[in-house]
């Protein structure tokens, strides 16, 4: 890993100012960024740690909306008692990854096989940054790509609370990322289905399934649907056809367990 200058501000405003310099990058839990830097795939001149910022910690719930601070670790979300989102957080990586990794870091990174993007998109979450609020539907713009500007920090994430929800993750056993993961959230005004791990374009909503489930919220409603293998990820862990099949199977399981 190349050397850099480390800063640890205590407010969001200070962090934004520190990130203004060239080649500065935010450091959340470091569970993605530090391994990437060790491989010399990233070499920021300055790392601005977000772990000392009180405004980015803590979770709260109004009953209708759960707000999770951008710096909250996967372990703390797992222990929070927030239904499917806590279950999802508790199955990320391993205990040491969960003790450091944060929701802000995961959503900023937008790995095509990460878990949180599915929860955020299916829940219709709002990503709140130092500058603005971004609807999940506008936030995920492709593989490792988001609507975040340079030096923009995820301060918190609002998750509307659904009537019921469920996340099904088919784990890739070596990395423990999702080979495919499907998050189903049923709201009074409709069902949202988000799929991670499958598409080369990153997390997406399976709108045909949403339409079918709005008419009939049962796993049988998916029977007539087919998932195309076009643009599905292909790697040694699974073919595009295998992933396409998993999308349908896991959506059915998620609906059944909702």
């Amino acid at each position: 890993m190349y050397n850099f200058v480390f800063e640890k501000p205590t407010t969001v405003a200070e962090a934004v100012a520190a990130l203004a310099s060239e080649d500065a990058q935010a450091l959340g839990g470091g569970q993605t960024l530090l391994p990437t830097m060790k491989q010399r795939l990233a070499s920021p001149a300055k790392l601005v740690s977000l772990t000392g910022i009180a405004e980015m910690g803590g979770t709260s719930s109004t009953g209708d909306v759960i707000t999770i601070g951008g710096g909250v670790t996967h372990a703390d979300v797992a222990a929070g008692g927030y239904g499917a989102i806590s279950k999802l957080a508790g199955d990320i990586g391993d205990p040491t990854v969960r003790n450091r990794g944060t929701i802000g870091g995961s959503l900023a990174n937008n790995d095509p096989s990460a878990d949180y993007p599915a929860a955020a998109l299916a829940s219709g979450a709002t990503i709140k940054t130092n500058a603005r609020s971004i609807a999940a539907d506008d936030y995920f713009t492709g593989l490792f790509d988001t609507a975040l500007e340079d030096a923009e920090i995820i301060v918190s994430v609002d998750f509307p609370v659904p009537l019921s929800s469920n996340y099904q993750k088919f784990e890739q056993p070596a990395s423990r990322f999702a080979l495919v993961g499907v998050f189903v959230a049923k709201f009074a005004d409709g069902v949202r289905v988000a799929v991670t791990g499958a598409s080369e374009g990153g997390v997406y909503r399976w709108t045909e399934a949403e339409t079918a489930l709005n008419a009939n919220f049962s796993a049988d409603a998916l029977d007539g649907l087919s998932v195309s293998a076009d643009n599905m990820i292909s790697d040694l862990h699974g073919t595009p056809e295998y992933r396409a099949n998993l999308v349908k199977v896991l959506t059915g399981r998620a609906v059944a367990d909702c």
Binding site: K8, G30, L34, P35, L47, S49, G93, P95, T96
Partner: protein
């Protein structure tokens, strides 16, 4: 270079480090606590597991400067005061929970955190908890037995 201070196994320590220094590097190369092992470059093996403020973390995936002011515990802090093996360590010895021993410091640190949160874990719970700790020798069975034995002894 920056200066860093923390408590390691109950002792206050201070050092001058490059900003990029990993916690595991600081422990091994500055403090000469070489029980914390480095088994990979990809944050996947868990041989470097240590406790920071009571939580298990990968020492290779945290900057030393992020541990400023923290309470750090390593495998060297797991033995009893008289130098004899702690309960979990002794259980690994008794139940053949190690062969080459390379993964063992991480296994013991992970097991310690598990048993603090769950005093009577099932086999499935132990296996799931150790998902970030890789052993190339034992096939894991005896590691599970060792942790179950330690759990029974610690009550």
């Amino acid at each position: 270079m920056s200066s860093v201070s923390m408590t390691v196994n109950g002792k206050s320590v201070t050092g001058e480090v490059e900003d990029r220094t990993l916690l595991s590097t600081f422990l091994r190369e500055d403090l000469h606590l070489t029980g914390t092992h480095i088994g990979c470059d990809t944050s996947q093996c868990g041989a470097c597991t240590v406790h920071v403020n009571g939580k298990a973390v990968k020492g290779c995936t945290m900057l030393a400067l992020e541990a400023e002011g923290a309470d750090v515990r390593t495998i060297e802090g797991m033995a009893n005061d008289d130098g004899s093996l702690g309960v979990i360590q002794a259980a690994f010895q008794e139940h053949h929970g190690l062969q080459c021993g390379f993964c063992t410091p991480g296994m013991v640190m992970a097991a310690d955190e598990l048993l603090k949160n769950n005093s009577n874990p099932s086999e499935t719970e132990i296996r799931k908890y150790l998902s970030g700790n890789i052993c190339r020798c034992t096939g894991y069975h005896n590691i599970i037995k060792s942790i179950q034995a330690a759990a029974a002894q610690l009550g």
